[in-house]
Symmetry: C2
Subunit: 170 residues, 2 copies
DNA sequence: TATTGTTATACTCTATAACTATA
DNA sequence: TATAGTTATAGAGTATAACAATA
């Protein structure tokens, strides 16, 4: 194609270490800025609706969304990894949700350092209510993108996510 | 195709108001979660590097990135709109950058309510130094995605951004 | 009256580091 | 020694509302 005015083979520049040409770096930045812009706008819109509609936050919503898939509960350390957040924050979020009666926290019998957090029936019911609204909000926010494009985006972002998994672990 | 088990024509459900079928809503949520995950991971990686390498934040970096394109400066209100942040925050960010000597702030002669913020030579030099590093970081973080996929992503996200522009203004 | 920006306040999310208790 | 979680602290980002100056 006509794209390749600058396509020295990557293997020449760097076998596998992941350096791009200057041109490609600039293109990568443009992609990143667009990714960031879209995400921030959606995040603000959803965060605002979540706050106004349910008095909650995206972080708490995501927390419950994780927990909801595990009726037997999750260890806080696992949640920390899943939500990509350090341990101290999980303690704080857990305290809030505990106060709301949305989760329980108990010591793991097998490893008494660990605590298991479980979602309560009230938490589950509340989450499901929020999830319905959330689903409709997301649907209406993304309705302007054709179905095929959404599907393609999902696929391509899957590739990005995977390539982020395989990074040299900083 | 096999996708269409649930494809009532959108015009039936809603002519233009943007409601999706339940199936499409769920697919939209999956897309949104993937978008959010990728962005957060990149944002954390870049934010961390920016903090450790330059003692600054993404917000300040973005602020300078905007300003850098306008040697004649920008009004704070304009920055507020561009950075999608409320006015009070712009005041705070401006104060910080002012203290660093990276920007100047003066009253607009034509509208004395307004203030014009300009980037200083020091601010510009500093920004350009950070921008080089930033570009390389982004390049290496996205290097695992094939060039064609990056290009396609950029294109599709442009469509998303545009469709977000055309939303019913919440 | 409406707009620009400032100030003050508060809340959420986050990281870090020191700490306890278990392993 | 290493790990799980807590606590305390700090800082970034944000929203809101009251306010001053100007339009």
């Amino acid at each position: 194609m006509e794209l390749s005015s600058h396509t020295e083979t990557p293997s020449e520049t760097s076998p596998d270490s992941g350096a791009l040409s200057g041109t490609d770096e600039r293109q990568a930045v443009r992609l990143w800025l667009r990714l960031l812009g879209c995400t921030h706008r959606l995040e603000q819109a959803l965060g605002q609706r979540l706050r106004r509609g349910f008095g909650t936050s995206l972080a708490r919503f995501d927390y419950l969304a994780q927990l909801q898939h595990y009726p037997d509960g999750l260890r806080m350390k696992t949640l920390s990894r899943r939500l990509m957040v350090t341990g101290g924050n999980i303690t704080g979020l857990t305290d809030q949700l505990l106060a709301d009666g949305f989760v329980t926290r108990e010591v793991d019998a097998k490893d008494r350092r660990s605590h298991i957090v479980r979602i309560t029936p009230l938490g589950l019911a509340t989450f499901e209510c929020m999830a319905v609204a959330h689903r409709q909000w997301v649907g209406s926010l993304l309705a302007g993108v054709p179905e095929g494009d959404r599907r393609l985006l999902h696929h391509l972002l899957g590739g990005l996510a995977q390539s982020l998994d395989n990074l040299p672990a900083e």
